[in-house]
């Protein structure tokens, strides 16, 4: 590709005690693309995106956003830089309401005296925006926007997490298995949402084990194996069984895909 990558990582290493989760991993995300990341369970996909989004600090390696080296010390810094992430474990607070969760860490305050001096939250505004986002995602089965997240079904929770990322992401949106718990209709909505976000010009990193979904929406597929990037393939040039074969080590990846 001729354009410069928006987000890059080189030589990332992350060890948890004696377990090596990332072993000299590289990563490139280009502007406006959908990059799928696939790999076996435990390949290190979640560790990779956690290192990028500031949730864990890598032991080695460097990350650049728009060419500038970054080292987020917390997910908040990544969010402030426009990188929004849906983590595999969703990162929602069970006892808080849907609206409170969606705005956690960036709450809207009331106008005027109440907001400025008494720092009062603007619940109606937060609830309205939360409801709008969920409607956009087709999550019509959520009856009460003020209900605690722990009273939602697993898929509804996932929908809330995806809605939160879609509502706030401005530079990059990272989705770690966003459809794993979703129903047919809701998965379809998430895929449409992903394409919608792409149309807005925001690139997306999609981690998924669902090959049909990956091949349907991805522009490029990053195959992760044993803590590092094995290769990057174009979904138009390879079949799903090729991808699975590379990912599991059944087949060696082609020369031209290796360097990437």
């Amino acid at each position: 590709m001729a354009t410069q990558p928006l987000l890059t990582a080189r030589g990332l290493v992350k060890r948890y005690g004696r377990v090596t989760a990332l072993n000299q991993a590289d990563f490139d995300l280009y502007p406006g693309e959908i990059l799928a990341v696939i790999g076996d369970n435990g390949a290190g996909k979640s560790s990779l995106i956690k290192a990028i989004s500031g949730a864990v600090n890598p032991d080695e390696g460097e990350i650049r956003l728009e060419g500038k080296q970054i080292a987020f010390k917390s997910p908040m810094e990544a969010r402030d830089a426009g990188i929004e992430t849906v983590y595999q474990n969703l990162a929602l607070s069970p006892a808080l309401s849907i609206a409170d969760n969606m705005f956690l860490g960036r709450e809207i305050r009331k106008q005027g005296f109440m907001g400025q001096w008494l720092r009062m939250l603007d619940r109606p505004a937060m609830e309205k925006r939360a409801r709008d986002k969920l409607t956009e995602l087709g999550l019509m089965t959520i009856q009460n926007i003020g209900q605690a997240v722990e009273t939602l079904s697993g898929g509804q929770r996932q929908g809330v997490a995806v809605a939160r990322a879609a509502a706030f992401g401005s530079k990059v949106i990272i989705l770690d298995e966003p459809t794993a718990a979703l129903g047919v209709k809701e998965s379809r909505r998430v895929l449409e949402l992903i394409l919608d976000v792409k149309r807005r010009g925001i690139p997306i990193v999609l981690i998924s084990h669902n090959m049909p979904h990956v091949f349907e929406v991805a522009d490029r597929i990053h195959i992760h194996r044993l803590g590092r990037r094995l290769c990057v393939i174009n979904p138009k040039d390879y079949t799903m069984s090729d991808a699975v074969a590379f990912m599991t080590g059944a087949k060696a990846p082609p020369e031209e895909a290796l360097a990437a």
């Binding site: 860490g105 009273t151 379809r188």
Partner: protein, 354 residues
């Protein structure tokens, strides 16, 4: 446009209304469970009303008098304020064993500054509040940054502060008359006034106002929501971008500050300032009020209004049994049963999601 797979084609005809259901068919018990889940202060409020009613019937008009009921409020003011501090800490899934002795130590510092060193009383009060806050900050730093368990940290600071209190003061009591003569401002919260037969002290008003302010902060500001989130699931809170360490620091420091404020109120109530009050189990009483008030020891759940009700329940029960002439141990026994009952109900309410 994404190329939908064959079976997904029918999705275009999907229903686009927000789901709504008739409510019948849901058992009464389930509905109660849901109501309590969303209104955590309801249980202690009901228990409070029941206990007032029971003792009222058993004792008669003497108990129902506004004099008796306001006397109960005077008796619980200190524990209620300490309970508010404890609530903040327990909401973050922690516990603070040291706030009782922080209160006593702060009172001793205030008294010595004002009476022994002759500093202007407002400055003495400020120093006392500062000492309490510093103790809280120490707890907060050890919990948030050293990642030590709150139980162990505050067990340690409990002993440290208690010993410091005795060493510093040489266990000298500052007499009521000396405080009244040299620093009457320290007695401020003991000032009482009558409304009919009801007798209220500024200490009681301070307790109620403090709880209401904290209720507002916890429910209607971003920081309050963060306190709940940190106690609920610290990992999720961190990934959501909350600075969990700062929240914990602030909570423990605020608990220390409120404990020092309780010190000021306690001087008003007791008159004199006695370092040996450090052996009183104020802190256990505060934890008791918090637990009976429905604040979950696992963090993230409960309303601070419940703590106020919890303190009132304990006050009503001890006053009621007292007026009935019962052995004081009955109060202890009943308190124990209330604690276990409260934790049982907490567990049941939590199952709402399971």
């Amino acid at each position: 446009m994404a190329q939908a797979q064959e079976f997904e084609k029918v999705l275009s005809d999907s229903d686009t209304n927000v789901a709504a259901f008739e409510d019948h068919g849901v058992s009464v018990l389930k509905r109660i469970q849901h109501f309590l889940h969303s209104t955590p202060a309801a249980v202690p409020l009901i228990v409070l009303i029941l206990s007032i009613a029971i003792f009222g019937i058993a004792i008669g008009g003497r108990f129902f008098s506004s004099y008796t009921l306001t006397l109960i409020l005077q008796q619980i003011a200190i524990v209620g304020i300490l309970g508010a501090a404890q609530t903040l800490v327990i909401l973050t899934a922690g516990i603070d064993l040291s706030i009782g002795v922080i209160m006593v130590f702060s009172a001793v510092v205030m008294g010595n500054c004002a009476v022994t060193y002759g500093l202007p009383t407002p400055i003495a009060v400020a120093i006392g509040l500062g000492v309490g806050t510093l103790c809280g900050l120490l707890n907060g730093a050890l919990v948030a940054y050293m990642k030590l368990p709150p139980f162990i940290v505050t067990l340690g600071t409990w002993n440290i502060v208690m010993a410091t209190n005795f060493i510093y003061s040489a266990n000298q009591t500052i007499r009521d008359a000396d405080v009244a003569a040299q620093a009457p401002l320290l007695h401020l919260f003991g000032v009482n006034f009558k409304v009919g037969t009801a007798v209220l002290t500024l200490g009681v008003i301070a307790m109620v106002v403090l709880v209401l302010v904290l209720w507002y902060v916890l429910n209607h500001t971003a920081w309050g929501r963060h306190v709940y989130a940190v106690g609920d699931d610290p990992e999720a809170a961190k990934l959501s971008g909350i600075q969990t360490k700062k929240v914990l620091m602030a909570v423990y420091a605020l608990a220390g500050l409120i404990a020092a404020f309780a010190a000021w109120v306690s001087i008003g109530r007791n008159g004199s300032i006695s370092p040996s009050a450090a052996v009183t189990d104020y802190n256990l009483q505060a934890i008791t009020a918090t637990v009976i008030g429905g604040i979950s020891l696992f963090g993230g759940r409960g309303s601070i209004l419940g703590t106020l009700f919890g303190a009132m329940i304990v006050g009503v029960v001890s006053m009621g049994l007292n007026m009935l002439g019962a052995d004081p141990q009955w109060k202890v026994l009943l308190t124990g049963m209330l604690i276990i009952g409260a934790v049982g109900i907490d567990q049941w309410i939590r199952k709402v999601s399971g």
